[in-house]
């Protein structure tokens, strides 16, 4: 071993060698017709032990022609065990057997264990050279034919040259999958500098990592070679490539940033990327650190593997994120993608990870700073709503599958040490995980970062990030001193050490609870008010025996809104204490006329007549800041939920109240929901949620409901003409809040049912009129999403057909209302062929509606229509909708 001291914080490579200077990747021929690639790589290797006689590298699906070590021919063996996972095993055909065999196969080539598919014998002539620990140059010629992964070719079948056809190719894949397109050490922990060369058709552009040094024509002037240099040490897994006849846009705000898109889309690219510089500014400001690379490239490609993929100094996006200024709904989604990609540039690309079990730190930090960007850009309401949404998702997933473990520790590789035996797959490798598990893993990681922030403050949190970044950037500028480069790798222990150094706080219990073990907390809360003692008796139970749960011990915040104000209490949740006595501050109903002070200092008038005369309690919230990964089921009376909805200013509390009110179909709930719907200051997502709750309540109250159908008069007042209330105003979507409400209300109204459990005729006619009078001519924005949701509304109005003896569905016995709906769907779907809408949202809604009609027995259940829309060549959203409809036949 080298002169490594014990306790050295440096990183121990699993390999008996490491890279110095750089790796060369040269792809000198790309054939779009045959979907093939020819090239070579040259790795400079520095032995760290004497008698190194074998070098293991990663390579999948490449054909290796020739390997030379220091210009001497070298023998090599290529074996990819994942190609045949079960080795003709015919007896044990079960998931468990496969899963174990697959995990073993992935382990056998795991670069982080020093393994690889390609094993090169060092020629005996060089053994002496190796014993002197001198540099080895490994030169590998390879080719790739019709790759099944890692590199994706998009070649439209039409006339013209490849450039005219918009043919392109790009690297893609899940986690470390660079081995799919060139031999390398496919690990996030093996850093080196890079020289990348791509020779492509003169009409094409090759975009890759680092700085484009020069572009040179070949001698026949028909091709050109793009020379890239990446001087920041980077893992092979963060190397990427995109080649195509791209249109080039230099960012007008930052000239070192270049955007690329497919032909004809430049106007959309201009609009879509016009916002990116603000994201840059935000991250650089909060991290007090400049963007680490000297340039940044965004490439928008078709048939993207994922919507956003971040690589060193470049990101590959789906072309479907591009949009014009007329599109409302896609804009925030695309901006989120841009912001996510940029966050991962700092944490994920520039700073890489030491091992797979440290992945949570990178995903956590990038997700956390992305959250900060979201808070700043879309506001605290949107941020809290998002956090709640993510929390609900992870809680639901863990309760369903039995836990997501952020920092697994693996002992010895024996299966009984598996820290996640409840899963049907191994979590030892990124490649053995289920996709859904990994999505939830990322979700949990950023939520846990937020918990750490709650514990140590945001200021310290950002200081830790800054420290990680500045250490890394110092290390990255050290040329030829690759032992320093391990500072660019983050580990769980290093991260935690940094936190303790910066904040001086011990967060070990928090880490133990949420990082070192899996599971979430399930609270059940109820209360009683003891009038004599003026005490709130709160009972908090936990379920920690169900799968995916864990026991929580520690502080828990409870907020009680009383007549005299809002009060925070911190309870200590301990082993055997379920009951907590909380003294109340106010006597019931003492000051009748006084305004009620809220948590945020606001003082409001409330109609207190609904209250329990004996109690000063307006509402109670458990863990209002979401500082525990938990699910809370809390019982309080309907009027308390109504007060909470009306007067609590936290959007999460409002949403919780709305969901709780579904169980209380009373006129008072109806009034509370209607008032929220009308309140313009109220967060639009809360108002949207209130629509659906109101529909549910109206249905439960159907026998006593008075007045027009729920929301109808409100919609009329907000969106219809003053003089002729049956006609909707011509569209004007300048106010996005009311736009979203206008879209949602009809969808919710269509869920209304009368005493016969049918959608009221009045509602159906109302929706049909909205479609009829829809007029977008004066609108600055496209109405494609609005029209799509009107179709969704039509689908929501459909109820099961009354069927006599399973008669065959024909036109003659078609329900007249369904006839009207079909008329609209036919027209919409046909108009899409002539004037297609953005992302074909209308086709998608029509297909979904047709499936609903089939499922309810109005139209013969025939999948042929969906099969034709599912074919290759339709827009991806349409294909997905069609495939979902086809899959629905199996349900």
């Amino acid at each position: 071993r080298m002169n490594r001291k014990k306790g050295d914080k440096g990183f121990e490579s699993p390999r008996p060698y490491k890279f110095t200077t750089h790796q060369v990747v040269c792809i000198n021929n790309i054939n779009f017709q045959r979907k093939s690639v020819v090239g070579y790589v040259e790795l400079t290797i520095f032995p760290t032990v004497a008698n190194l006689n074998r070098i293991k590298l990663n390579s999948k699906q490449c054909r290796i022609y020739r390997v030379r070590v220091n210009d001497l021919e070298a023998a090599f063996i290529y074996n990819d065990p994942t190609l045949e996972v079960c080795h003709h095993e015919s007896k044990q055909r079960n998931l468990n057997y496969f899963s174990n065999a697959y995990a073993a196969a992935v382990s056998a080539v795991d670069p982080d264990a020093g393994n690889g598919e390609l094993c090169i014998k060092v020629p005996s002539e060089l053994w002496k050279h190796v014993d002197e620990l001198k540099v080895l140059k490994v030169h590998i010629n390879f080719s790739l034919d019709q790759p099944k992964g890692g590199l994706h070719f998009v070649v439209p079948s039409m006339e013209g040259s490849m450039a005219e056809r918009g043919a392109h190719v790009f690297s893609c894949g899940y986690q470390n999958s660079t081995r799919f397109w060139f031999p390398c050490v496919d690990s996030y922990s093996e850093l080196c500098t890079w020289k990348l060369e791509y020779t492509v058709d003169a009409a094409m552009v090759a975009v890759s990592n680092g700085d484009l040094v020069e572009t040179v024509y070949t001698h026949d002037m028909r091709k050109k070679t793009f020379h890239y240099m990446l001087t920041i040490p980077t893992a092979a897994s963060n190397i990427s490539l995109a080649i195509g006849p791209f249109e080039i846009l230099v960012d007008p705000y930052m000239h070192e940033v270049t955007h690329f898109c497919l032909p004809q889309l430049l106007p959309l690219l201009k609009h879509t990327t016009s916002y990116l510089h603000e994201v840059f500014e935000f991250y650089e400001e909060i991290l007090t650190c400049r963007y680490p690379y000297s340039c940044f490239k965004t490439v928008f490609i078709d048939e993207a593997y994922v919507e956003v993929a971040a690589y060193a100094s470049m990101s590959i996006f789906s072309t479907n994120l591009l949009h014009s200024a007329m599109i409302i709904d896609e804009t925030p989604l695309t901006r989120r993608c841009l912001a996510q990609a940029l966050a991962q540039q700092f944490f994920g690309c520039f700073i890489s990870r030491m091992s797979w079990s440290d992945e949570w730190v990178l995903k956590g930090i990038s997700g956390y700073i992305y959250g900060l960007w979201m808070k700043k850009t879309f506001g605290v309401n949107e941020y809290r709503h998002w956090i709640k949404q993510e929390l609900d998702q992870i809680v639901a997933y863990e309760l369903k599958t039995g836990g997501v473990l952020l920092h697994p520790i693996f002992g010895g590789g024996k299966e009984k040490d598996n820290p996640a035996s409840h899963l049907h797959f191994s979590i030892k490798h990124p490649h053995t995980l289920s996709w859904e598990y990994y999505t939830m893993f990322q979700c949990k990681a950023h939520l846990v970062m937020r918990l750490i922030e709650n514990r140590i403050s945001m200021e310290f949190m950002l200081q830790v990030f800054n420290k990680l970044l500045s250490l890394a950037s110092t290390a990255s500028s050290q040329k030829f001193q690759s032992h320093m480069w391990s500072q660019m790798l983050v580990s769980t222990s290093g991260f935690l050490k940094s936190i303790s150094n910066v904040s001086g706080k011990d967060i070990q219990p928090l880490i133990k609870q949420w990082v070192d073990q899996s599971g979430v907390v399930k609270f059940y809360g109820s209360f009683a008010f003891n009038r004599k003692r003026n005490v709130l008796e709160l009972e908090i139970k936990q379920d920690y025996t169900s799968p995916g749960t864990q026991k929580y011990v520690g502080p828990l915040k409870v907020t009680v809104q009383e007549l005299d104000g809002s009060f925070n209490h911190t309870l200590q949740i301990e082993e055997n204490s379920l009951k907590h006595d909380i003294p109340c501050h106010s006597k019931s109903r003492r000051n009748k006329k006084k305004k009620i002070p809220l948590m945020n200092g606001e003082e409001v008038d409330m109609d207190l007549s609904a209250m329990d005369a004996d109690s000063p309690l307006l509402w109670i919230r458990i863990d209002p800041d979401m500082s525990v990964l938990r699910k809370v089921e809390f019982e309080q009376s309907d009027f308390m939920w109504q007060y909470q909805l009306r007067y609590e200013r936290d959007v999460v509390a409002q949403e919780e109240a709305i969901l709780a009110l579904e169980k209380f179909p009373t006129p008072a709930s109806r009034l509370a929901l209607t008032d929220i719907l009308e309140q313009e200051q109220c967060f639009y997502r809360v108002r949207m949620l209130a629509c659906f709750c109101l529909a549910k309540i109206a249905n439960s109250m159907v026998s006593t409901w008075t007045g027009p159908p729920a929301m109808k008069s409100l919609f009329t007042r907000m969106f219809c003409c003053k003089t002729c209330p049956n006609i909707v105003k011509t569209n004007n979507f300048m106010n996005f809040q009311s736009y979203f409400l206008q879209k949602t209300m009809p969808v919710a109204m269509a869920l209304l049912r009368d005493v016969h459990n049918l959608c009221p005729k009045e509602v159906l006619m109302f929706i049909l009129d909205l479609i009829k009078y829809n007029d977008n001519r004066k609108n600055k924005f496209s109405d494609n999403y609005y029209r799509a949701e009107l179709i969704d509304a039509l689908a929501n109005s459909v109820t099961p057909a009354v069927s006599v003896n399973n008669e065959v569905r024909t036109l003659d016995n078609l329900n007249p209302d369904v006839r009207l709906i079909l008329e609209e769907i036919t027209r919409f779907l046909n108009m899409e062929k002539l004037l297609p809408s953005y992302r074909h949202t209308i086709t998608v809604s029509c297909l979904k509606a047709i499936r609903v009609l089939q499922k309810n027995g109005h139209v013969p259940s025939d999948p042929s229509l969906f099969k034709s829309y599912a074919e290759y060549g339709h827009f991806v959203d349409v294909r997905i909708a069609a495939l979902e409809a086809v899959v629905d036949y199996t349900k």
Partner: protein, 290 residues
């Protein structure tokens, strides 16, 4: 063509033409011709007439160009020069010895144009129109009497009409498309009640899905420009008020200056952008054989 009844105007033109014919004949005689075919004489007459007419037309234009109504000698001279005629040879030619003198054509009366039916009083010239300009035409030639109905302006009716019109057009169009192309149907027994235009895959599906349709582009431009107009209007408003004294010219000048400086700086910036993807592609290095 004397078999037809002739009007005085016709007579006048015939007489003029006859005189021209005599001129052509005498010029031919002067040039030494003894006889000529009628067709040749006719052609030459036609040419002479065109030439003289062109001199007249052109001279008139020159005189009107300098805001006069009567041509002067210089107008004629300029015209002749313009037509490629060497004016200096004219006096000598006029005084040549062998020239033949033609008797003046018999004076016939200018034809009288019959007076048009006058209806109503012609409007007198307003003071800024000089007296030599023609009079206003009869009022009945420009006075209009609208006879159409009041347009429908009732909002509800308009919206109703627009909606049903659009629906009819869309229905007719899609039905036509469905009839003339491949269709799909939701009902096996019926293909005509709800005909769906068959789904056809695209070679490049993202283009139609992402690019705004031409209609939308047009709409966007319209709303954009109207918005811009609004903006500039409101922006200009205070400007007008504050620069009341300096007058409109000065204001225009300052706006112009601003514009040029803006575009200038932008151009400058563009020139300064150093982005590796904008750099020219290098020529290959010539390998030297050792």
């Amino acid at each position: 063509g004397s078999k037809h009844t002739t009007t005085p105007a016709d007579n006048y033109y015939l007489a003029r033409r006859r005189t021209l014919q005599v001129v052509v004949s005498s010029l031919l005689t002067e040039a030494g011709f003894e006889s000529a075919e009628k067709a040749a004489v006719e052609t030459l007459t036609e040419m002479l007439q065109s030439y003289i007419s062109e001199i007249g037309r052109s001279a008139k234009s020159y005189c009107e160009h300098t805001a006069r109504t009567q041509p002067t000698l210089s107008d004629i001279v300029v015209t002749l020069v313009e037509m490629g005629f060497n004016v200096e040879t004219l006096p000598a030619y006029a005084k040549r010895s062998q020239r033949m003198v033609i008797t003046a054509p018999p004076v016939t009366n200018q034809p009288v144009t019959p007076k048009a039916l006058t209806a109503g009083q012609n409007k007198p010239h307003p003071p800024h129109i000089p007296g030599h300009f023609p009079e206003f035409p009869d009022p009945h030639t420009y006075i209009k009497t609208p006879t159409y109905r009041e347009p429908v302006s009732d909002y509800q009716v308009l919206r109703e009409k627009a909606a049903s019109q659009r629906r009819d057009v869309e229905r007719a169009l899609t039905r036509f498309m469905a009839k003339t192309g491949e269709t799909q149907s939701l009902f096996k027994d019926d293909v005509s009640t709800f005909p769906l235009i068959a789904a056809r895959p695209f070679t490049v599906p993202y283009l139609t899905a992402l690019l705004p349709s031409e209609l939308e582009m047009q709409q966007m431009e319209e709303t954009d420009s109207s918005e811009q107009d609004d903006q500039t209007d409101t922006e200009n408003l205070p400007l007008h008020m504050s620069t009341d004294d300096s007058g409109p010219e000065k204001e225009n000048a300052s706006v112009l200056q601003q514009n040029t400086s803006l575009s200038g700086s932008r151009n400058g910036e563009e020139n300064m952008i150093d982005n590796p993807y904008l750099r020219p592609v290098k020529k290959p290095k010539i390998r030297r054989k050792k």
